[in-house]
Amino acid sequence: MPELLSWSILLLPLCSAAVIQLLLREMAGIAVRMSVASVATTFVIALVLLGSEDRTLAVQWATAGSFHIEIGLIIDDLSRGMMIVVTGVGLLVHLFSLAYMKEDEARARYFAGLSIFMFSMTGIVLASNFIMMFIFWELVGFSSYLLIGHWFQKNSAAEAAKKAFLVNRIGDFGFMIGILMLWGILGTFAFREMSESTTVIAQSSSMLTGIAVLLVFCGALGKSAQVPLHVWLPDAMEGPTPVSALIHAATMVAAGVYMLFRLQLSAGIEIFEGFAGTTIAWVGGITSLLAALMATQQDDIKRVLAYSTLSQLGYMVMAVGLAGEHSAEAGMFHLYTHAWFKALLFLGSGAVIYACHHEQNIWKMGGLFQRMRKTTVTFAIGTAALMAIYPLSGFWSKEQILEAAHHDQPVLFWLAIIVATLTPFYMTRLFIVAFLGKGRGHGAQTAKEVPPLMLYPLFALSCMAVIAGFTPVAETLSPAFHHPSHSFSLTNPVFLISLAALIIGIGSGILVYRGRDSDPLEGSAIFKIFRNKFYFDEVYLVLVRIFQNAVAIVVHFLDDFIIGNLIVGGLVRTASGVGNLFRKLQSGNLQGYAFLFGAGIILIIYLTVFAR
């Protein structure tokens, strides 16, 4: 029975997507219900599985002689907990979408996309080996492509979808090499068997292992949008907002962290020691800093949240890379708390955008507190959790990451503290500008509270944003998120420093933005760099022009004119000249030559063989 449940948690969403796509495209009403029913069922199964024992299931997928690739499910603390996050947030996002996408003509396609995503994400979480993880890794990228490009008639959405797919492919290039190299080093793709190969690692050079781990990390670089492959995530905000909440905040972008944690859990922390772990930690730290700086100057409510997601993902990646005693658990814990409160913030922004008639610029909002009190309160809770205010969920996980950094890499700790100052600063800015003061745009002045179907998911997520960090809750959902040894005291220097950072951040945010109608920092040169996202996109555009388009043009030219025209073209001209000659002589045509050609060849073979 638990086996059947485990398989159905994976396959139900796939069935839902297939049925909608093939049969229900014209019947949006049924399609929508079907998709919601499938995600609700998987959530219930995820709850049931919480009580089940650890197990691994497998079927053979591709067999070649003595070698085979398996599709398998690994049910353990880590995957059980992650499934709660994925199906829980997934369910709430589906419900929210019911209202949010009500007017959309293509909502059957939208819900089919969500179902494909749920299938793919479940596959990543439950994957028992690296090849299967890669399969679903690609599939989440594909579903993300579908959903970002939901409104494909818009050029910006179509471009954003393409960009997300391509940037992820670049990451996956390294990922696959890494998987293959680790296979050579550890001798297995299966996570469960990696621990048995630790002796092998000791023998083979640690240099090679480090390189392989970094290549695997490239996958996370793309999927979890770390610098320098972060550029797709802000653009991905072109997709419908519930999609941003589910895929580009709570679950898919966290897959990179999950994958690294799974690897660390399976192969042992040793393979992250040395330069590999250090590099990963620094990439995470730098991402969190750069993204926080960029977030301070965004005007689009979703983009502020997108950069804050980048920044928080950077925290998680840093924690995993620190390779300290419990640092990776801290990163995973942050993944789990972040999923709830960031989904809350995104759905909240969705509610605001919906109420303001698709206005996304915070400077055209304002005064929303008076018009949408319930939404505002939930958004405030999410903001507080993101700022890591005691005792909301974000506080507990962030504190653990800071502790870990303090313990292992003091430089990164101070970098993380800067981020911890910036986060409250830009979130204060967002909250003051969008929700307080008076309405500045038509949308904001006529905004009304959103329907209950959108509010209930916000309430549920607010609830989780408050309680998810408490030990009893985290322990119940998964021991993998939480290690009980952590004790928290008011005299801890880490706590005091981060408290100071929080107060400075909020305080300066209030000072700068209270009562403003436009951004006072806009004019300064350094903030212009933040606003323009450190010019990453512009640099990439030049690189693509030079290294891809220009090379393609040159190669195409060479191919056409040297290989195609000069060498072969010459032959062709000679031949058709001869052909013309024959045509005059014999008034033949191409049919005749084709026939002669075939007959001649056969004759030649026959004669040669016969003559032997």
Binding site: A64, E138, M176, T209, V568, G598, R612
Partner: protein
């Protein structure tokens, strides 16, 4: 019974000549071929293999037999590919009334030639069927093609004739060196070729077969040919007939293992040319049909990569993944490219253009066409769940199969890494083309485009179904390769005599452990 596969289309041709409705006859014949093919594969899978083949002697000195049968799992899979694509091709495209007979006869002859080559168990007919299938191909391009059809037909003819002649020379040398009196694969593969002849024969085979598969730098015939040829011919040639070269290499390489290993680095350089060079050429294409033609050339590089892994292993250790990987990818690519060419033909019919600069926003008007094309495009860039991914991932695994931590990366591993970058390149051109054709605001040429009718959808849906089934359950095909009665790979899979002689292999033990589960 296997001979029916050849008889059905030939009877169809005669029926058309006798005045039957050409379209209906071709459709019926391909349906019967498909049914026969599936039945044969089913029998093969169940282990019923006796009485399926015939081999009447047509010439006694040297002994040439008209051997028709299923030689091994690879033949079965390629035969299935032929009948699947033929079935779809007969339902794609249209022509003027007065050309209908020519169109359908050519189609049936190409299908017959392709299937004939794959079910031949004799070298002579293996070669001859392929040559016969080329004749109607040239005819169709020269008479019914688009653009500069005469020039293109000539170009293709010269290239393929060049390949065929080189190949013929190689085969004759091979026959001479083996000293065999029978050209049946069964007898031929038992012979051994003297070491001094091997490199020469191998080179002739690589160049000859390679040209037929558009191996770099003998590739420039392919894209214009496919763009010019009528859709069913592009489908059959790119999808099936072209695989003849790969099939031949995979079939004959055990005869000259050392010779093939000798040219390993050459093969690697050429296949990287296919993937990188042609990949960049593909990025720069402005027309959908030329883009697809070039992409099909590029994807041949992956199959050659599996071949490289195979011949690298040939000299040292067994690589059990390479052969199935190559066969699976051949099948997947054949179905995908056929589907893409078929749908591209529809796009041109609906909009009157294939210029990517004039298209756009087609998905709003023709959602079904957009869905099917998107599915095929995703298949061709290796989306998991569709057949190509299974083949590609196995190719990459094959590439790293021989690598052990501690030794540096060998040339096959480096080629694998470069090939992985090819996945980025193919995503670039495919998504760009899809974006320009189907997404964004509506382009200038598509005002009145209608969606696919159910008749037009049918062949594409059929091919899509095959892609999905094989993609989800690759073992359905790979199972045909297992325990093949007369397969060459079978004995070595059971026990590789070289393996115990190797130094203790740190990789082998955990791998065995994994396999045991």
């Amino acid at each position: 019974m296997t001979a029916c596969l050849l008889l059905i289309p030939l009877i169809g041709v005669i029926a058309i000549l006798k005045g039957r409705d050409p379209g209906a006859t071709a459709r019926l014949a391909t349906t019967l071929m498909l049914a026969t093919g599936i039945l044969l594969a089913g029998l093969w899978a169940m282990g019923i293999r006796d009485g399926l083949s015939i081999a009447p002697v047509v010439l006694s000195k040297p002994e040439i037999r008209l051997g028709l049968g299923l030689y091994d799992g690879m033949s079965v899979i390629m035969m299935l590919l032929s009948v699947v694509v033929a079935f779809a091709a007969a339902r794609t495209g249209s022509c003027k009334k007065r050309h209908e007979s020519l169109w359908n006869i050519s189609l049936l002859l190409v299908a017959a030639g392709a299937v004939g080559a794959f079910i031949s168990t004799d070298l002579f007919f293996f070669y001859a069927f392929h040559e016969l299938a080329l004749v109607p191909t040239f005819l169709m391009i020269g008479i019914l093609g688009r653009g500069e059809r005469k020039i293109i037909a000539w170009k293709a003819t010269i290239y393929l004739a060049f390949g065929s002649i080189v190949l013929l020379a190689g085969l004759l040398w091979l026959i001479a060196a083996s000293g065999t009196s029978s050209l049946a694969f069964e007898d031929l593969l038992k012979t051994s070729i003297p070491a001094e002849d091997q490199p020469g024969i191998a080179l002739f085979l690589i160049i000859g077969f390679g040209t037929l598969v558009s191996l770099f730098p003998f590739h420039s015939w392919a894209a214009p040919t496919y763009a010019s040829a009528p859709a069913p011919i592009s489908m059959l040639h790119a999808g099936v007939l072209k695989k003849f070269g790969l099939y031949g290499l995979l079939r004959l390489h055990p005869l000259v293992p050392e010779g093939m290993s000798h040219w390993l680095n050459l093969v690697i350089v050429l296949l990287i040319g296919n993937i990188l060079w042609v990949g960049f050429v593909t990025i720069n294409q402005k027309r959908l049909d030329l883009m697809l033609g070039n992409s099909s050339v590029m994807h041949m590089g992956y199959i050659f990569l599996a071949f490289a892994a195979l011949i690298e292993a040939g000299a040292q250790i067994e690589n059990p993944v390479a052969m199935p990987a190559a066969i699976l990818l051949m099948f997947a690519h054949g179905v995908t490219i056929a589907m893409l060419f078929g749908l591209t033909d529809r796009i041109e019919k609906k909009t009157g253009t294939l210029d990517l600069r004039n298209l756009g926003g087609l998905a709003s008007l023709t959602p079904k066409l957009a869905f099917l094309f998107g599915l095929a495009a995703m298949a061709s860039i290796g989306l998991p769940g569709l057949a190509n991914f299974a083949g590609e991932v196995m190719v990459f695994i094959a590439g790293f199969r021989g690598w052990q931590a501690g030794s540096g990366l060998g040339s096959v591993q480096i080629a694998t890494i470069i090939a992985l970058w090819g996945l980025v390149i193919s995503a670039v051109y495919m998504l760009r083309a899809y974006r320009r054709t189907f997404q964004g605001p509506e382009g200038s040429h598509i005002k009145n485009a209608e969606d696919l009718s159910s008749n037009e959808r049918r062949p594409a849906i059929f091919l899509a179904f095959v892609l999905v089934i094989v993609g989800l359950f690759p073992n359905l095909l790979l199972g045909l390769l297992e325990n093949s009665g007369s397969a060459t790979s079978e004995p070595s899979e059971v026990q590789n005599p070289l393996e115990p002689a190797l130094p203790p292999d740190p990789e082998a033990q955990p791998q065995q452990a994994m396999l045991a589960n």
